[in-house]
Amino acid sequence: MRLTFTTASTAALAVLAPVIPVIAQATDYLTVEQAQKLMFPEADRFTTENISFDATRLQAIEKLSGLPPRTAKWQVLVAHKGEQTAGYVVVDNVVGKFELISYAVAINADGSVRQVEVLAYRESHGYEIRLPAWRKQFSGKSIRSPLRVGNDIANISGATLSCNHVTDGVRRIVALVKTAIDSKLLA
């Protein structure tokens, strides 16, 4: 293992002042098309169903999931293999206190969850980089150019999110797909 602490040089930071570099993760993982092919590799085609749930069905979704349905209109991608339905894909976004997560849920024909893939992750507020006092704990450091932000790799340790919003979202999607199948809104 090799570990090197890097820092902006004092001179470089003086040039940057008063703008303070900010790290906020913004990562795109997969497009919807990539995700649906990964989740249903056996499918030979996908079709789109636009579903609109009425009040009764929205109540059924809430009862099944234990969560408010959030919206009545959902788009469901149907994965087909020959004449059979292999399953369904639903894309959703969740907005947390600090992050926005776009994700896709693959549901098997029997209504069970096959896979969940995160499509994109955006942090809604960044962390400042200042001259860190903790560096005095260490001897030996290398001086690097000031950090770039945005599209660079953000491998981040510490103070990250929990996935409760996504877990809730998956549960809601399972419930809405089941309700749609039971109501014959989906084949």
């Binding site: 570990l3 790290i23 962390y127 980089i129 903790w134 981040i156 340790s157 510490g158 999110l161 929990s162």
Partner: protein, 258 residues
């Protein structure tokens, strides 16, 4: 190393986001790399089923619900984690304790992948070590499929492989500094608590000596070759306040506070 050169995927597991980044290298093609990632995420699924306290049928839930004297047949990985935990407990003077102080003799590992519950009040919680263990196992899975350079990040517990260094940003408390570093062939884990509670996850910093939560405000990071050690040792450093705790040396680890 630029972001657009990497193949990256993320799935929700273990209560957080588990992210894999691979540097594509010959002779592997994209489909093979994706299949390797699938296999790595399957590791998370296995650990979830074996160790999650949220699944009533997991080894941990069945153990916690069982009476004293019950023998629980477990996934071999559960027992492996418990063996690591015992060693960490010993070397940390009891600061690391997967029984969280509930019992001094909570279990006995018997033969044939079986765990015997030896105290009725014993409760196990692998939250302080399972993510790090998962990351190590995922990295081994990628390596077995020919991926030499990768970064796996399970909600801030991360490990990198390959000949090159990976840039890592380490965050402490909100509105505090971010450390920036380069890591090669190693792991980093961080534990951040304000008044004993994580500002993001609602994890609590349990002090097994007190049998209840600590009220400390602390942000700790540990780097070690293996992620399971980095993960577990953050709790030892957070509770002891000692960045030179002797347990670190046993695992070739280094710690710092933010």
């Amino acid at each position: 190393m630029k972001a657009d050169a990497l193949l990256r995927r993320a799935q929700p597991w273990l209560g957080t986001l588990v992210e894999i980044s691979c540097l594509p290298e010959d002779p592997l093609n994209e489909a093979e790399i994706m299949a390797a990632c699938d296999a790595a995420f399957a590791v998370c699924r296995r650990i979830h089923h074996a160790m999650s306290p949220q699944l009533p049928e997991s080894d941990i839930s069945r153990f916690n619900a069982a009476d004293a004297g019950t023998e629980i047949h477990c996934d071999p990985w559960t027992l492996r984690v418990l063996q690591h935990a015992l060693r960490l407990q010993d070397l940390s003077g009891g600061l690391f304790d997967v029984a969280l102080g509930s019992s001094r003799t909570p279990f006995r590992i018997t033969g044939n992948n079986t765990l015997e519950k030896t105290a009725a009040e014993a409760r196990l919680d692998l939250g302080g070590i399972a993510k790090g263990f998962a990351v190590d196992r995922m990295m081994a899975t990628l390596r077995a499929r020919g991926i030499r350079s990768a970064c796996i990040n399970a909600g801030g517990d991360l490990r990198v492989s390959g000949p090159d260094s990976w840039p890592v940003y380490v965050r402490g408390l909100p509105d505090h500094e971010t450390a920036t570093l380069e890591l090669q062939q190693g792991s980093i884990a961080s534990s951040v608590y304000e008044n004993g509670e994580s500002p993001f996850h609602h994890d609590r910093l349990m002090d097994p000596r007190l049998g209840r939560c600590s009220a400390r405000t602390v942000a700790v990071s540990v780097a070690a070759p293996r992620c399971l050690h980095a993960d577990a040792l953050t709790k030892v450093i957070a509770l002891s306040g000692d960045i030179h705790h002797p347990a670190l040396a046993a695992f070739n680890a280094v710690a710092w506070m933010h």
